[in-house]
């Protein structure tokens, strides 16, 4: 999102010249959602028909109706809701810790140039280390405990936030910073009134990315380590051969993912919107 906004902002356009209307309009409001609905319906129909052909065995891919049935039964189970709760707890807690740590570390590192210079290479080294490499360590230290999940989730999500906060703090408009200096705002004042507002939309992007990554790692921990949650439910269903149940659970994780995406994007858009309207006035 950010890339797009920035790239679009610099294009040369003549004052008052034609061709200004670059924005895309959705034609006749309802067409797009209806087409999308048609696509989803098509997917369901395909999943219903495909297992009944010789192409795919129903043992591996149950018809959509079977999956729906399994989902219905799932929703009536207490175990399912407990698992969902476990997953959400791991996700939410991990994300919260990662965001808090990432923001604090980002502000501290970002506001001291020397610190930024010293830590840059270390961050570049640690960031791409796959969180899953920590799985054996987590198992040894914490077993199937919630802390296992948190170790993986926090490690993966922390870097997303930190890197965005740092990028945001660096994006400060030099004019705004000079203005702040000329009014003799101290370091803290500059951080509070100049750097943080600039960084906010970046932070929101970081939170959005971290939210997605956190879900992936929560499910991974449950699936591989066996920590309680949806991932573990899937593993259990798979080993016991309850195929429709596997698909129903996968669908649930997908819906969970979509919900998290939509929420995160909505929050991010609000932050960005606020940011841009402030900038335009300023």
């Amino acid at each position: 999102m950010l890339t797009k906004t920035l790239a679009g902002a610099g294009t040369d356009r003549g004052p008052g010249g034609p061709g200004g209307g670059r924005s895309r309009r959705t034609p006749a409001g309802l067409v797009t959602p209806l087409r999308g609905l048609a696509g989803l319906t098509g997917l369901v129909a395909l999943l219903e028909v495909l297992p009944r052909t010789p192409l795919v065995s129903a043992d591996y891919l149950p018809p959509a109706s079977k999956t729906a049935e399994a989902l219905w039964r799932l929703l009536a189970e207490d175990a399912f809701w407990t698992a969902l709760g476990d997953t959400l707890t791991g996700w939410g807690l991990g994300l919260a810790i990662a965001v808090a740590a990432g923001v604090v570390a980002g502000i501290v590192i970002g506001s001291v140039p020397l610190l930024r210079a010293v830590t840059a290479s270390t961050i570049e080294f640690l960031r791409p280390i796959p969180s899953v490499a920590l799985i054996p360590v987590a198992v040894l230290l914490y077993g199937t405990d919630l802390r296992s999940k948190l170790l993986l989730v926090v490690y993966a999500a922390f870097w997303q936030v930190l890197v965005q906060v740092l990028a945001g703090m660096q994006d400060v408009d030099p004019v705004a910073d000079d203005t702040a200096r000329s009014y003799r705002l101290g370091t803290w004042g500059r951080v509070r009134y100049v750097m943080w507002p600039t960084a906010l939309p970046y932070v929101m992007t970081g939170v959005r990315l971290a939210a997605t990554v956190a879900l992936v790692l929560t499910i991974t921990a449950e699936l591989v380590i066996g920590a309680p949650g949806l991932g573990n439910q899937i593993a259990v269903a798979q080993t016991s051969g309850a195929v429709p149940r596997v698909y129903a659970l996968v669908l649930v994780t997908g819906v969970l993912g979509v919900t998290i995406n939509l929420m995160a994007r909505a929050v991010e858009r609000r932050a960005l919107h606020w940011h841009q309207s402030i900038r335009r006035e300023g």
């Binding site: 080294f125 796959p130 490499a133 799985i135 798979q238 596997v246 997908g254």
Partner: protein, 265 residues
Amino acid sequence: MTRTTSTVLTLVRRALLALGLPAVLFAVWWFATAGSTDFYVPPLSTVLGRFGEVWTGERLLSDVVPSLARLAAGYLLAVVAGVGIGLVVGTSRVVRDVLEPVLELFRAIPPPVLVPVIMLFAGIGDTMKVIVIVSGCIWPILLNTVEGVRAVDEVLSDTCRSYGITGPSRLWHLTLRSASPQIVTGMRQALSIAIILMVISEMFAASNGLGFTIVQFQRSFAIPEMWSGVLLLGLLGFVLSLLFRFAENRVLAWYHGLRRAQRNP
């Protein structure tokens, strides 16, 4: 001060900044664990000693190479398929409208849950792992390609039309190149997903590979060996991201230049 000495000083300064903290952290780890009797946290010297033994001999061929081959095969297939399908979807408004929610749903499914599902179809062999990697990391590439194709500039598109640049030439010189920044972003996201999927598909069900071996070490309480595996995975992630950045800087040099030019007009 002469020019050469000042360049040398700058270089020294940069080297100090880049290597200072890693050296300190390494030293801290080294000395903090030096006399460690904690079974789970062996001395770093022991871990590094084992690293050489474990990962250079036979295991390099039997575990590291198969893992990397599966990673490469899955990732490259995902790139080709993702860009290809993305081009088709992105060019047609109707196709895009119809498929976008479906694709968003697939993208939102946490890729690791695909491992048990794909095991149903493809067993636990190499095919399964490659399919898992493809089906997990195709989505960010595909959706970013769609986004990139959609954002092709209209003036540039008109320019191509009026000069008769059509067909494959247009596809290469206009569509792909102008979508390349987004495609690369998708590929970067996909790379980290691919590594995750490589490791956990091997942890879940395999008879060789990095993920498998590391879990074996952990289960048999071969702790220094396990730590050396964790280090190797970390190193792998770092090296791959370095290679990626190197390639990106070559392919997208124009884009980074353009962005800089736009920021400081």
